[in-house]
């Protein structure tokens, strides 16, 4: 059966419709799930889209961490379900402790919206499975706090375990090791600052994001084959 994908919506999230539309272009479907939902039972995978969850007040992701749905995302992740946090979603995942490190303000202290070159550095994650390391993708970034940082030990671990899944080709925002995306040790939870859904249609100038979204759908499909939801998805 086709995978059940939850696209999580916090108040202030704004990329949810774009993610759903990009999924639909790939022949899949996805449901919007409100942040007050405390269970993702019935869903095979979850996307935390970009935006400004809870206004990004205090710090991006700092309040979203306490929304009921975030605990449900953690449960899904613990059960091996594919989870990807895009941009603000990546920030939420680090604040929630599902991924290490933090996203600080860009070097230069300005918001950056532009299409950049991103290089896949590991093909071993739910977002990059099947994509050869070294593959370059043209994908937009759109963030103020996209400058990935972590301590030396964490960085060494990420490198040793091949958990840096994508790097910027140029140093666009000051990120440590030009990191654009990482995954957890289980490789089923990924955070990515660039927006693959914004590179999903030739009219937008790039379709390169579809490789990533397609890989994620593949991972979700594999999971759905293994777990049969008892009932319909909880709303």
């Amino acid at each position: 059966m086709p995978p059940r994908i939850a696209v999580v919506v916090y108040p202030g999230t704004n990329c949810e419709h774009d993610v759903v539309r990009a999924m639909e272009r790939l022949g899949a479907s996805a449901d919007l799930v409100w942040h007050g939902t405390s269970s993702l039972a019935g869903y095979d995978a979850a996307v935390l889209p970009g935006g400004f969850a809870h206004g990004d007040y205090l710090r991006p992701g700092a309040l979203a961490r306490f929304s009921p749905v975030t605990a449900a995302v953690a449960e899904l992740a613990a059960a091996g379900g594919p989870v990807v946090g895009i941009c603000n979603g990546f920030q939420v995942l680090t604040e929630a402790g599902l991924l290490p490190g933090a996203l600080q303000k860009n070097r230069g202290l300005r918001f950056i919206c532009e299409t950049v070159d991103v290089e896949v550095s590991s093909g071993d994650s739910v977002l990059t499975a099947g994509i050869a390391p070294g593959t370059r993708l043209r994908i937009p970034i759109n963030h103020f706090e996209g400058n990935y940082t972590c301590d030396h030990e964490t960085l060494a671990g990420l490198r040793a375990e091949d958990r840096v899944i994508a790097r910027y080709v140029d140093d666009v925002n000051g990120s440590t090791d030009r990191i654009a995306g990482i995954c957890n040790p289980g490789r089923n939870v990924v955070g990515l600052m660039p927006h693959p859904e914004r590179a999903s249609d030739p009219l937008l100038g790039s379709e390169d994001g579809n490789a990533l979204l397609g890989a994620f759908l593949g991972a979700a499909t594999r999971v759905s084959g293994g777990s049969s939801p008892a009932g319909g998805p909880a709303r």
């Binding site: 108040p11 202030g12 704004n14 990329c15 419709h17 774009d18 539309r21 990009a22 409100w34 935006g51 400004f52 809870h54 206004g55 990004d56 007040y57 230069g108 300005r110 918001f111 950056i112 919206c113 532009e114 937009p140 759109n142 103020f144 927006h195 859904e197 914004r198 999903s200 249609d201 030739p202 009219l203 937008l204 100038g205």
Partner: protein, 817 residues
């Protein structure tokens, strides 16, 4: 009757907060105030605003009305309307509603000359936004406004709340806002204060627009000393909606409830329409005067607005509201009186039911506060519970603050302000008297006496440049420093973002059925020409904006305008406005474009100096089939470079009011070039057809073979800058010949387009069929920009200069100072 005024004291336009009063361009139901004695020659406005004093002041009414910005004549008119002496609360209501900002009392008489009808117009001027039919059951809502004075005082919040206000004007129509554009005007960047303003304004647009989740897809960036103390921050918003979700800001049905949605009401922004922009600046804006006005600027909360957008659109989708209206300038009194007047009803407002941010607010403060992120929904009692549930889900506050009432049998609906629904009556005025009965002034006009001398001093007589290449480099600026800070891609609709002749979007939005249709959007201005000839200048900017959307393959379909002018008490300024409106009308009629909305911003002056007249227009173009990205501002290797169109009346292009004359030589005089509107329309139609075929991927009678690889209109900087921008946009150089001299190189005569094509013969033939002059001037190749005998510059050098100009001024200069 209209009122002729030689001089008056009064309140300004351009108050903070969008949506005060209605959309301006063209008016329906203007009514002149009766019983006015004409010129009275009152003293200068006192302009101390409302403030806490109003509710408690112990003063004679005459002192009070002047403090509220009302003239003695206006007080007499209020007495006539009420048939009695107004009380303090009532005076406060009239003070804000009869301000220039809300009432357009100086401009309405001119605005009615604009053409406002057209086959696709669903909603013209007079509502919160204009709406046109885009086909397939989808409509487009557009509005443009200014937020000039708030941004001059507190650039970040001033610009941010400008964005917030314009968004409310769009979603109050039932439309999902999908695009914002920001035409910005500052003084020169060598001045540290200008750098502070630019930084702040861009940060305000970026922080609010990005967070609220509406992409900023374009705008304009103009530097001129006339804006140093009075920058202009205009903001346009476009939304899309299913035609059947269109809703108007009107209250109907006695017994229906007025529900206030969103933020609590505070003392922020009180008197915004009457104090902040109540006069020009005194020229010492870094001083105590500006600091004292800073509390009149509101602070925006994009997170509140984002939830308000989603809640309101959900309410409209579910059909739970009878009418809805945003709260902007003049706050609750504006929203309640306008909805009641439009619906032909009255309204009772209970000020004790309004959720407040602070204690001790007086009734007139509550009624006139301009606190941001608020909406007023008219709801039937049986739908109230569902409305409250939707709002609760989006964490949006909803409070019943008013009730719709029947008008008395013998008169118009009454707006009553009550201390509790069963409590004391604090004010009672005919609802329509606050908006529709506002005064209408016919101010004196005076053609500037030095105009003929300025026209005669043509820059064509200036000595030619020693190095035209160096002059060209000095005119190149890459604006990406600005738009890189704006999310211009959200909703995955942006096919051409900032930096093009026009932004191009898919006509789509969450909740709106997707189609193959698209739209193009351009904002344009030309204060250099408008300073010399506001009539031809205003005509030319309509023409330029129409040509810009045509360059993206769109059919120009509607116009909105934002008329930024100086002090209307200066007869020269009123002459400029009148001329500009006539020029705009002529161009709109000739090009078949209705004006569907607008805004007038007066009192853009400082130290007694008015800004140059700066009408700004936004043109919306429709694209029936958007299947390919338009060619854009670029060259393709080996293509022929063709110029379509020629200067009206023959002869070389004019340098009068050109960027070269003004910015390079400091020469601001001359007679701006004429525009042949019939020839311009032929060019617009030709270009829209050529590029439209390409974006639709259709071939019409060999049209596809015209092979348009790049296209750019000729505007500021003339053919030289047009070619250079095409080269910089593609990394391909050019070799051009047959350009006679620097006048032809930098002259800015309108109605010209540069095209890079692989099949010039077909293009020339098609131009010939359309009656549009066309000639091949060169070829795209190499890595140099060459105009034989005039320019020979390495593309790499040009790129460095072009790229570095803004960051060099804003990042490095700022860092070193």
């Amino acid at each position: 009757m209209d009122v002729d005024l030689a001089m008056t004291d009064e309140t300004p336009t351009d108050g903070p907060g969008a949506g005060a009063g209605s959309s301006a361009a063209g008016t329906a139901g203007d009514r002149a105030a009766d019983g006015r004695g004409g010129a009275t020659g009152l003293g200068p406005a006192v302009g101390t605003g409302l403030g806490p004093a109003v509710g408690t002041a112990v003063g004679t009414p005459p002192a009070l009305h002047r403090a509220l910005g009302l003239t003695d004549d206006e007080l007499a008119e209020i007495r006539r309307v009420l048939g009695r002496e107004p009380n303090r609360v009532e005076l406060a209501l009239y003070g804000v509603m009869w301000s220039e900002h809300c009432s357009y009392k100086s401009s309405r008489i001119h605005l009615r000359r604009l053409p406002t009808d057209g086959p696709g117009v669903l909603v013209g001027p007079g509502e919160n936004a204009g709406v046109i039919d885009a086909g397939d059951g989808v409509a487009v809502a557009v509005r443009i406004e200014s937020h000039n004075h708030p941004s001059a005082i507190e650039p970040k919040q001033g610009a941010a709340t400008g964005v917030g206000g314009i968004l409310r004007d769009i979603f109050t129509m039932g439309a999902r806002p999908i695009a914002v554009m920001d035409p910005l005007f500052f003084g020169g960047l060598e001045d540290a204060r200008q750098r502070w303003l630019v930084e702040g304004v861009v940060a305000g647009i970026s922080s609010y627009g990005n967070s609220v989740g509406v992409p900023t897809v374009g705008g304009e960036l103009t530097f001129d000393p006339c804006y140093a103390l009075n920058p202009l921050v205009n903001v346009l918003c476009l939304g899309v909606l299913p035609v059947d979700r269109l809703v108007l800001g009107r209250a109907t049905g006695a017994g229906n409830l007025a529900v206030l949605l969103g933020s609590r009401t505070g003392r922020d922004g009180i008197g915004g329409v009457s104090v902040l922009a109540s006069a020009g600046f005194d020229g010492e804006e870094d001083g105590a005067g500006a600091a004292a006005k800073r509390p009149n600027v509101q602070v925006g909360d994009p997170y509140e607005e984002k939830r308000l957008i989603e809640a309101c659109l959900e309410l409209l989708d579910a059909g739970l509201v009878v009418g809805i209206q945003d709260l902007g300038g003049a706050g609750l009194v504006c929203a309640t009186s306008e909805t009641a007047a439009r619906g032909g009803v009255g309204m009772d407002v209970d000020v004790t039911a309004v959720p407040l941010r602070e204690e001790g607010m007086t009734p007139d403060e509550i009624m006139t506060s301009e606190s941001q992120e608020r909406m007023l929904a008219i709801v039937t009692p049986e739908h109230l519970a569902r409305v409250e549930a939707v709002c609760a889900r989006w964490e949006v506050r909803a409070s019943v603050v008013g009730r719709v009432t029947e008008p008395p049998p013998d008169g118009p609906g009454v707006l009553r302000v009550l201390d509790g629904f069963d409590g004391a009556e604090l004010a009672a005025v005919p609802a329509g008297s606050l908006s529709e009965d506002a005064p209408l002034y016919r101010r004196p006009l005076l053609r500037p006496q030095d105009l003929d001398a300025r026209h005669a001093d043509d820059p064509g007589r200036l000595p030619p440049p020693a190095d035209a290449g160096a002059d060209l480099l000095s005119l190149l600026t890459d604006p990406s420093w600005v738009y890189r800070q704006y999310d211009h891609q959200l909703f995955s609709n942006t096919v051409v973002g900032p930096g093009g002749d026009a932004a191009v979007l898919r006509l789509a939005a969450p909740g709106v059925r997707s189609t193959d249709r698209g739209l193009a959007l351009s904002t344009d201005s030309n204060p250099r020409w408008c300073a010399l000839d506001p009539r031809s200048g205003a005509a030319a900017i309509v023409a330029e904006a129409a040509l810009n959307v045509a360059c993206a393959g769109a059919r120009p379909s509607a116009v909105v305008n934002c008329l930024n002018f100086g002090n209307p008490e200066h007869p020269e300024v009123m002459w400029q406005l009148s001329e500009a409106i006539d020029g705009m009308s002529e161009a709109c009629v000739a090009l078949g474009l209705p004006v569907i909305g607008g805004n007038v911003s007066f009192y853009n002056e400082s130290g007694g100096h008015d800004i140059d007249p700066t009408p700004v227009v936004g043109v919306v173009g429709l694209i029936d089939e958007l299947r390919a990205i338009p060619p854009g501002i670029r060259l393709t290797p080996g293509s022929s470079i063709v110029v379509l169109g020629s200067p009206a009346g023959g002869g070389p292009a004019s340098l009068a009011g050109s960027r070269w004359a003004v910015e390079v030589r400091g020469h601001r005089h001359g007679t701006p070039p004429p525009i042949d509107l019939a020839a311009h329309r032929a060019l617009v139609d030709l270009v829209a057809g050529l590029v439209g075929d390409q974006v639709a991927r259709t071939e019409r009678q060999g049209a596809g073979k015209t092979g348009v690889g790049g296209i750019h209109d000729v505007s500021g900087g003339g053919i030289a800058v047009a070619l250079a921008e095409m080269a910089l946009g593609s990394g391909i150089g050019f070799e051009v010949s047959g350009v006679a001299d620097h006048r032809e190189l930098f002259g800015e005569s309108p109605s010209r387009v540069v095209v890079a094509t692989t099949d010039p013969e077909v293009l020339l033939a098609r131009a010939g069929e359309a009656g549009v002059p066309a000639r091949v001037i060169g070829v795209a190749r190499g890595d140099r920009m060459v105009v034989e005998g005039l320019v020979d510059v390495a593309l790499e050098d040009a790129r460095a200069v072009w790229r570095h100009r803004l960051p060099g001024a804003l990042d490095e200069l700022a860092a070193s100072s």
